[in-house]
Symmetry: none
Subunit: 237 residues, 4 copies
């Protein structure tokens, strides 16, 4: 939440600029640097109170989305739940979409930080157990933030163009890649980047379905085993 102020910004005319805030991709320590505010018309909060309000708005938005569904998250309702006026909402967010975006970015970057940190600690572990651990972490993260990480991106079509840049994988991509390179001895595929992308998709969406439906009737451990096996088999055989 420390970077909240930096994240509150104008999104130009609703989603016209095709290239979104590019994901930090520094090969070594890919700590995301604060995204440049594109001509933000909204004042960035300068007083204590302002930060609190902006925060309250985001929390209100999240709460409504989770409890009442995205379509009930009108600007007026968000303001109401946050305990402020609509006017205040527009003081911090240029439009409704910006709230959702801030919410997602907030969640994603936190999640990504967790993943990257774990991944670094697992750099020296063998591929399979390391992957398995990461899978477990991912499942936990996605379960905790299911609404924000999955549902919202579906519910806000305009946000879809940003989906890529807002996805957790994107934020962790370079670290993921470094992890694979670290284990290249065990891996048979040559194009690591491509393999990574394919596995990411396969993994994430299986998790999404596991969380919402669990059509497999597997236990969580069994599920993670299978998912890991799919990834490892693909990479190593």
């Amino acid at each position: 939440m420390a970077r909240l102020a930096e994240r509150i910004q104008k999104s130009g005319s609703p989603m016209t600029s095709r290239i979104p805030t590019p994901p930090g991709a520094a090969p070594k320590g890919d700590a995301r640097t604060a995204e440049v505010s594109d001509i933000d018309r909204r004042k960035s909060p300068k007083q204590q109170r302002a930060v609190i309000t902006a925060e309250a708005l985001l929390q209100a938005a999240e709460q409504i989305i989770v409890r009442e569904g995205f379509k009930n998250a009108t600007t007026n309702r968000i303001a109401e739940v946050a305990g402020v006026s609509v006017g205040s909402l527009y003081q911090y967010f240029p439009n409704k979409q910006a709230i959702v975006r801030a919410l997602v970015e907030e969640t994603v970057s936190r999640a990504a930080a967790r993943v990257r940190e774990n991944l670094r600690n697992l750099m020296d572990e063998p591929l399979e157990p390391a992957l398995r651990r990461i899978m477990g972490l991912l499942l936990e993260i996605y379960r905790e933030n299911h609404f924000i990480l999955f549902r919202i991106l579906d519910d806000v079509p305009e946000l879809r163009q940003y989906t890529k840049s807002l996805a957790v994988e994107t934020y962790t991509h370079s670290t993921n890649l470094a992890f694979l390179e670290q284990h290249h001895a065990e891996i048979r595929v040559t194009d690591l980047r491509t393999a990574l992308l394919l596995i990411e998709r396969a993994t994430i969406h299986n998790m999404q379905y596991f969380i919402t439906d669990n059509p497999t009737n597997l236990t969580e451990d069994q599920f993670l085993d299978e998912i890991t096996r799919m990834a490892v088999n693909y990479l190593t055989k």
Copy 2:
């Protein structure tokens, strides 16, 4: 198209009944017999003209969605493009959602029929080449019906509860299963149904991303090879 009339039905108040038209799941001859709740159907278009009108509406809806985006597909516009009045639209479909649903079902069941048919012809082929062939077919189908099969489900949150039952895999599930059983000798996983579900997810969403973004920069053939390899490796190693 023949079963159109059967598919047109009322969904009660928008999506309150949780269980939609359940997918046929007969293990062997899974020819879907239309199980339509006769209650709630607005109208049985027995006359030629009626069917034509309903069909025109669906085509109009599809055309608008594909060309102008989902949010431009208002009921008035659909009727306009179809060349009838809104009043008539409501003669054939109880509400907007029913149109979308009919459209999806239409597309899905056609696609599923193609898949099943191909699958049956490949029953005696070895696992890998057979799978590869199916993968190619699926990619083709998803590409052709990208908007209907992927985008709509995202754009109509209320339809998401139906996603499962409206997905192509669901319609082909039993055939798919039969296919796997036919090749059980090559397969090491024990729970075929679960394995199938996992592979389906992994495959379909990778295809979705390949079609919309192709972030991998693979050629279609390369992509299909990889996807197939992922599935085969998972099943057999």
Copy 3:
């Protein structure tokens, strides 16, 4: 009012197209032909009821503007006074501005028709008495339609770009010119078109002030005499 349907049309995105409906400028009988509807999204009224509603909306708008001032002429209020719903308003007019525009065009073209007709009958009269007659007519017209012809154009900044094309003079310009040419013997200025433009401005705005303030304390007849004299002196001396 007969051409109402033709006049109800979309104005593109609010006033972006710089070139407005060009004024009819046929040298001979400059009867304005129905302006082409630029991509009008709104249905043109086909039933009796529709025409009545559209008409009621225009009248409501005029009434509100005249009685309550332009700023009270909100879309909701216009609909209310017209006795219909806002929805209906937007059935016939793509946006608020279009209503005002329709109102002005309606008034202007009617006024212009009167002027042109009179002018034609005065073609053979000597310059001064003919001009004096026209001045009287103009004053009458502007007095009757003061709000629509003067105030609105000021109150709708976006409409200002159209001011030229919506002004009465513009609609009568070719006839006016023909009138001057007819009297060229009495006239000393060489560039009739320019002279006409200068006189038009001088005349119209003096009338505007006369109607709203009459800071001169002249009687109407005296005022018309002076205005006429100004024009005649400019043209002939």
Copy 4:
């Protein structure tokens, strides 16, 4: 600028009092003595800083209006550009309108001073060349202050009631009259005041159109010649 403080005043509830600061109309030495209603004045900026702030606000307002259009001149934006807080803005001006009014008065009185001064120097010149000189000066002034002198009055309907008292002519009226009286020998019209009013209207609005559109395609010199001729012919023939 010295008289700024005097000009800052409260206008009651937005423009309810019909009679604004009346223009000084002393026939001879018409140096405007500021007649400000002390009631309603928000604040007397006696300190240096205060005057500077108020001045900065006016300049900010002008800048925004000219560069970004009137509708972008919100109070918040004006304060922002002026480098102060909205709160401060309301310290110096009771409401938005007061800012606009101050801006107009400022500009008008400066312009009027120039006109009057020139006029005095031309008192002994013959009518035509003197008028021609004044016309040139007026055109220059209007061109420089086009936005403030013309556009604003259109954009702030509430200000229109003040139009008369805020117009340049009004501020120069007595001097103008004195000028005409000085030349009464050349003039045939008897009621000089009325003639003056008529000529003022004719002149000013032609200039307005010349500046914004120049529909005549005349050069500036030609235009001034024509305008002058119109005035002289009217006065002397």
